[in-house]
Symmetry: C2
Subunit: 196 residues, 2 copies
């Protein structure tokens, strides 16, 4: 009775919008406190809605996380253009990788984003994942064009390596310094291979 090209869509219900917003707020809080593996029932409780409501709005855990962190990853993508415009290609790349690490380690839930970089099979991150890929590809390509580095690696792998630092670096106090050191080393490695 409803043809999917049809216009006659109702206005979305007020309670639906309200609950969706509540769930996002609650999820942000709970994920921040407990990490991305927190219980979805706790999220629902915190939001003051039933568990059924949570699942209607976000059919999978991934869908929820995706929604919560879409903003953050958008920010990351936007920062890339600014860096590219204002710095030498290699420095833009270096700085962006630092930003990437910070986002991942602070917003710990964003680690799930990395899973989507894998093969896109959990395709709910597909959007952000693809954008992230485009971003790092872009930055790397810039530096290559400028003759500053050579790449014989898929650029995303640089981010995967950083992901390992976040995942397995667990809470030491020099975490950030260590990540910066790794970034410098990887970039030095890429520079070492540039055409002379």
């Amino acid at each position: 009775m409803i043809d999917n090209a049809g216009k006659p869509t109702r206005k979305p219900r007020a309670d639906a919008a309200r609950n969706r917003a509540r769930l996002l707020d609650a999820a942000k809080a709970v994920f921040a406190e407990r990490g991305g593996a927190a219980s979805l029932e706790e999220v629902a409780r915190t939001a003051g809605v039933g568990i059924g409501t949570l699942y209607r709005h976000f059919p999978t855990r991934d869908a929820l996380i995706e929604a919560v962190y879409r903003n953050e990853s958008d920010q990351l993508v936007r920062a890339a253009s600014e860096l590219a415009a204002s710095r030498p290609p290699v420095e833009a790349l270096r700085e962006w990788m630092r930003l990437f690490f910070n986002y991942m380690s602070v917003k710990h839930g964003m680690m799930e984003l990395l899973d989507s970089l894998a093969d896109g099979k959990s395709s709910l991150y597909a959007a952000s994942g693809a954008e992230t890929k485009r971003t790092i590809d872009f930055l790397v390509k810039n530096a290559v064009s400028a003759g500053e580095i050579a790449v014989d690696i898929e650029p995303l792998d640089l981010l995967r390596a950083l992901g390992g630092m976040v995942q397995y670096g667990g809470g030491r106090d020099d975490e950030e310094a260590a990540a910066h050191a790794l970034i410098d080393i990887m970039i030095a490695g890429l520079q070492a291979k540039r055409p002379r």
Copy 2:
């Protein structure tokens, strides 16, 4: 009534030894098939013992994984001495990192080993984790002494980066080539910083 320095310990019961072995076999099989997050109840079922028996032998999931993979990580440690004896320091390091990646990616359950590299709080891996740390430290130090590289990074971080490749590289077909590329880049980066 039993003083803990006392000798009068009984011979361990035959069924206990048998069940322990069965559990290890079952765990190896189940972890290989389902990954390190497999259900412990399934392990017990596969082993043909009760769940209580599993928990008596291995009080935590970590303890079980540790036991299953202790052999493999021993092998890794042993390989390091051979490589160090037969190759130039940098090549020994390169080759060992390749081995490390292979072990991690094939025996997928070994990823849990990496968690122990963090802060030793889940101290059941403490033994293997500490040995792994000693091993990579040793290989790196050799290369530094030979003047082939300079390090301003904790050596373990190199393995963490590789861990990211395993964790987030999920099943692409060029996984191994990609890891080798990353290893080469990191080593080139370390070489770039060596004293001239």
